[in-house]
């Protein structure tokens, strides 16, 4: 490897070697035949990720995709990088060990609403709390795809599925609210089919140092087709989708005739007229997650109408892996590299000479 190694400027990738050679989508496409159902939203996400990565110009061998189990978790097989298709729900834990030991890698986690929020919920919230340097893509299709259509922790109440013939009973998680409640430093939401938006969110997520949590609304056209239709179809989306942009007033609707404000009396965040003087300006860098949390509550838990998308929160906090490396560095500097012989000997020794 004569070629000189440069480092990208993005904080999230500070220690990951880049390559001088220009890259294309093809560089990130593996030789494995993609086996999702025709029409699955996963294809769009895969294409967008493969299309976005060249922009980072990272050495392919320094990128790792780790997934759990589920349709979405087949993702790593299709990326021409290092990859690990692990077991159900455990990807964040596995990725934590890898990221903590290999700062020179760009580690991505791919998970689903079942994999990440049902069986894997605990690993997910702990990864976010620790702020391990990972980018987590949660494919939320509001259903269990691989096991052929049971309801998931993000399915709307009353969902009729194989396992709930009379309708599901439990209130779904709002993944953004949950992440904010779990001390996440980067929280975003985007949509499989909106390539430009998805790319922009990936860009911000990759730039962020720490755990970047990205919820992706993804259509499962076999078991939950049209789950996000209202948010996607040209005739309705503008009225129900709230696009968040840092520093911009939060307005939506065809001609931005809606806005989001804080109700002066109840102090609850609510939708108002676009020209309301109280329209909020989005601050993704606010240290206090409360406003972001309030925004996350705008979405109707059933229909998802008035779902904000974009980056809810993006703040700096030391990462678990950087702090850990720091403790090792300091220890070595202050006490010197470990000396095995000295360690084994300890302080209380005695010598037996060759009698016997």
């Amino acid at each position: 490897m004569t070629e000189t190694i440069t480092r990208p400027s993005l904080p999230g990738l500070r220690d990951v070697p880049t390559t001088g050679n220009p890259q294309t989508k093809k560089d990130f496409t593996s030789d494995q035949e993609v086996r999702w159902c025709p029409g699955c939203g996963d294809y769009a996400v895969l294409a967008t990720v493969q299309g976005f990565l060249p922009e980072l110009n990272l050495r392919r061998e320094n990128i790792v995709f780790i997934s759990g189990i589920g349709c979405s978790s087949r993702f790593p097989y299709y990326m021409n990088t290092y990859g690990l298709h692990s077991i159900h729900g455990r990807a964040p834990a596995i990725a934590t060990g890898l990221a903590a030991t290999r700062p020179d890698l760009s580690v991505w986690v791919v998970t689903g609403d079942g994999d990440g929020l049902s069986i894997g919920g605990n690993h997910l919230i702990h990864a976010m709390r620790r702020n391990v340097n990972l980018t987590i893509l949660l494919f939320n299709n509001r259903i269990y795809g691989l096991t052929k259509g049971q309801y998931s922790p993000t399915s709307e109440i009353g969902k009729i599925t194989k396992s709930t013939p009379l309708g599901s009973l439990d209130t779904p998680f709002n993944p953004v609210s949950l992440a904010l409640g779990a001390e996440a430093t980067f929280v975003a939401r985007t949509i499989d089919s909106d390539r430009a938006h998805l790319t922009a969110v990936l860009r911000a997520a990759a730039a962020h140092r720490g755990t970047s949590f990205v919820e992706i609304y993804q259509n499962c056209n076999i078991f939950n087709d049209g789950a996000f239709e209202m948010l996607k179809s040209p005739d309705s989306r503008d009225e129900v989708l709230i696009r968040l942009e840092h520093g911009q007033p939060i307005r939506f609707g065809a001609d931005l005739h809606f806005g989001v404000r804080r109700n002066p009396e109840t102090s609850v965040i609510e939708v108002c007229n676009g020209d309301d003087p109280g329209v909020l300006t989005h601050d993704a860098h606010n240290d206090d997650p409360s406003v972001a949390f309030a925004l996350s509550r705008l979405a109707d838990p059933g229909t998802l109408a008035r779902s904000p998308i974009g980056v809810f929160r993006d703040v700096d906090r030391p990462t678990y892996d950087d702090l850990m490396s720091g403790q090792l560095r300091d220890a070595a500097e202050q006490q010197g590299e470990g000396d095995l012989a000295a360690l084994l000997a300890g302080t209380d020794t005695w010598t037996i000479d060759s009698r016997v």
């Binding site: 455990r90 596995i94 020794t349 010598t351």
Partner: protein, 619 residues
């Protein structure tokens, strides 16, 4: 030099017992290291309550530390104490039944109030009602003595009385001629930041010694000569400490950074605590949210080229089962340390047992073979860790190390190895493609080494070897997902053959001095000490007995079958209901006789000696 007479002994067993709050573990530790430095052979057995600090003066609150030391090499902490130091009525009540007639009891009389006695179910004061007549009882008000001795330090009575354990230690040190300087050095560092406490403890320690020197009550001192041991530099070491050191050594000798993913659990937590101290060795310790995350993180680190380790006990292994299966399928190096404790379920967390062997063998879905190594003494935990690492790295496989609570907390003198004598472990990372696909070079993650059947280990960051692996069945060679029936059958057999074929497992060594033994006594793991001691006694009593001990449980030594068949009878004591016996009977169709006790305590040498005689005499 004291005017008192000195009696020479070849061995002594002392047990310190008191409230969890009385610092008996510390007292025992200090006496132990003085004894070690003095050059006796020794073996220790701490025993704590499951509660952190059960109410003072109650039976569940009693904590004890037993030490056996001698002028010859010994194998166990001793069956029965010659001397009991009891700091309160509860400690006396809880331990007196273990004493042989004639044993010495040194007891702090301060707490022998009617209330305290009633609390532990004494209707009358045992110090007065004659119930202890068959022992040599020394009742001393250690508490008041401590308060008295420390009055010029301006401590409260409560504070001063805390030093009574040092007073007892001083007294015992005098009795057995143990130097005080080690403990004084220890106290100086421990309480460096609190001069008063430091000096108070040192004063109490000296006061204890002087009390022995001066009081009429103690007429004799005892002398136990140093034990002849192989030349070398020695230290005292517990199993958990040796295990931690072994893992660090394995990291150094393999050049792989050590990553521990662990979740605290008794009796394994100390390994995490110890490794957390050695960051300068590049050791990363991750306290995970649970056991599954602990092993998951270790596996992720292993994928990245680290020496991935997870430490736990039985309930934790149960939780890790699914991930161990993934590691088997991924064929990545991983070390799982199971410090066995009493079960089932939560069971007896602070007690010992060796009942996780079959879980280690079979506790996963489908055919998922895992090598198993079991250390046989506290010091052996060091070598076992190195051996587990050798197998894991060489064969790209998870390895289970089965220690237990007895090894973990027990200690023995340990000859410190020279670093350069430790085995070197070669990770042999893959750096080149290993297959041609129509001229195109490719990397096949499951193209095995024909020798070892190990697959190549290519870590992220290696250009040109990008690959994807997972828990779904893989095509032999390419490693791509394969649902082909014949491939699956082949892969199942390949994974099994790789483990069965692990090289470097030494043959079972049989010790059969008379050469005419018809009984073979075998064991595995921590029973080595008691079995060895029992066999010695049986031989001393004129019986011909052969002994062999298993350190590798999977695969078993190549000569196992031949050895078992060589003897008329094979006896296998286990602290379970017969788990190794089941494996040996199934594999070799030999009618192994099991002797099984599941009491949460190690076997007593005497008990086993009797069993051996009974088996020989055929009852």
């Amino acid at each position: 030099m004291s005017a008192k007479q000195t009696t020479e002994l070849d061995r002594v067993v002392i047990r310190f017992a008191g409230d969890s709050g009385d610092g008996m573990q510390l007292t025992g530790d200090r006496f132990t290291s003085a004894t070690a430095v003095f050059g006796n052979d020794l073996s220790t057995l701490p025993n704590f309550p499951a509660e952190i600090r059960a109410p003072a003066g109650t039976l569940p609150g009693v904590s004890s530390f037993q030490l056996h030391f001698a002028d010859h090499d010994i194998l166990t902490p001793g069956d029965a104490p010659d001397v009991l130091v009891a700091m309160n009525p509860a400690a006396l009540k809880a331990n007196v039944r273990d004493l042989p007639k004639g044993a010495t009891i040194i007891v702090d009389t301060a707490d022998f109030t009617p209330r305290a006695l009633k609390k532990v179910g004494y209707d009358s004061n045992p110090l007065e009602d004659g119930s202890l007549d068959s022992y040599q009882v020394h009742g001393i008000d250690l508490t008041s003595m401590a308060i008295e001795a420390l009055k010029e330090f301006g401590l409260t009575r409560k504070q001063a009385s805390r030093s009574k354990n040092m007073l007892a230690l001083g007294l015992l040190s005098w009795m057995y001629g143990r130097p005080l300087d080690g403990t004084i050095k220890f106290l100086e560092t421990k309480f460096a930041r609190n001069g008063t406490i430091r000096d108070a403890n040192i004063t109490a320690l000296r006061a204890g010694w002087n009390y022995g020197e001066t009081t009429e009550d103690f007429a004799v001192r005892y002398q136990i000569k140093p034990a002849p041991m192989p030349a070398g530099i020695y230290r005292n070491i517990t199993g958990n400490l040796a295990l931690a050191y072994g893992l660090i050594a394995a990291s150094k000798r393999s050049g792989l950074p050590l990553f521990l993913g662990s979740y605290p659990i008794t009796p394994a937590s100390d390994v995490l605590h110890e490794l957390a101290k050695h960051k300068r060795f590049g050791v990363r310790t991750f306290q995970a949210e649970d056991e599954i995350a602990g092993i998951g993180a270790a596996l992720g680190a292993a994928f990245g080229g680290a020496l991935g380790v997870t430490t736990t006990s039985g309930p934790g292994v149960a939780l890790k089962s699914e991930t161990i299966g993934l590691a088997v399928s991924l064929e990545l190096p991983l070390i799982i340390c199971d410090i066995q404790r009493g079960g089932p379920s939560t069971g007896l967390p602070t007690k010992t047992e060796q009942a996780d062997l079959l879980q280690a063998m079979f506790g996963r879905n489908s055919e998922a073979p895992v090598p198993i190594v079991a250390p046989s003494s506290p010091g052996d935990c060091f070598d076992a860790a190195l051996e587990a690492a050798r197998i894991a790295v060489t064969y790209r496989t998870p390895v289970i190390l089965l220690s237990d609570g007895y090894l973990a907390n027990g200690s023995e003198p340990w000859r410190i190895p020279a670093v350069e004598d430790l085995p070197v472990i070669d990770p042999a990372f893959a750096t080149e493609t290993n297959h041609q696909n129509g001229g195109e070079p490719e990397f096949w993650p499951y193209l095995r080494d024909p020798e070892t059947l190990a697959r190549p280990w290519a870590v992220p960051g290696t250009p040109g070897l990008e690959h994807r692996i997972g828990g779904i069945e893989k095509a032999d060679g390419s490693g791509n997902i394969s649902y082909d029936p014949e491939n699956h059958d082949r892969m199942v057999r390949l994974r099994q053959a790789k483990i069965d074929g692990i090289a470097g497992v030494p043959d079972l060594e049989v010790e059969d001095p008379s050469g005419v033994a018809r009984l073979l006594v075998i064991g595995w793991g921590s029973t080595y000490g008691p079995i060895g001691a029992a066999v010695r006694r049986a031989r001393a009593a004129g019986h011909d007995v052969a002994q062999a001990h298993f350190r590798h449980l999977n695969p078993l030594p190549a000569n196992t079958g031949e050895v078992l068949r060589r003897y008329e009878k094979v006896l296998l004591p286990e602290m379970n209901l017969g788990q190794l016996a089941l494996l040996l009977r199934a594999k070799y169709l030999v009618d192994v006789i099991g002797y099984n006790k599941v009491r949460g305590l190690p076997f007593k040498a005497d008990e086993l000696a009797t069993v051996i005689k009974d088996v020989i005499n055929g009852d």
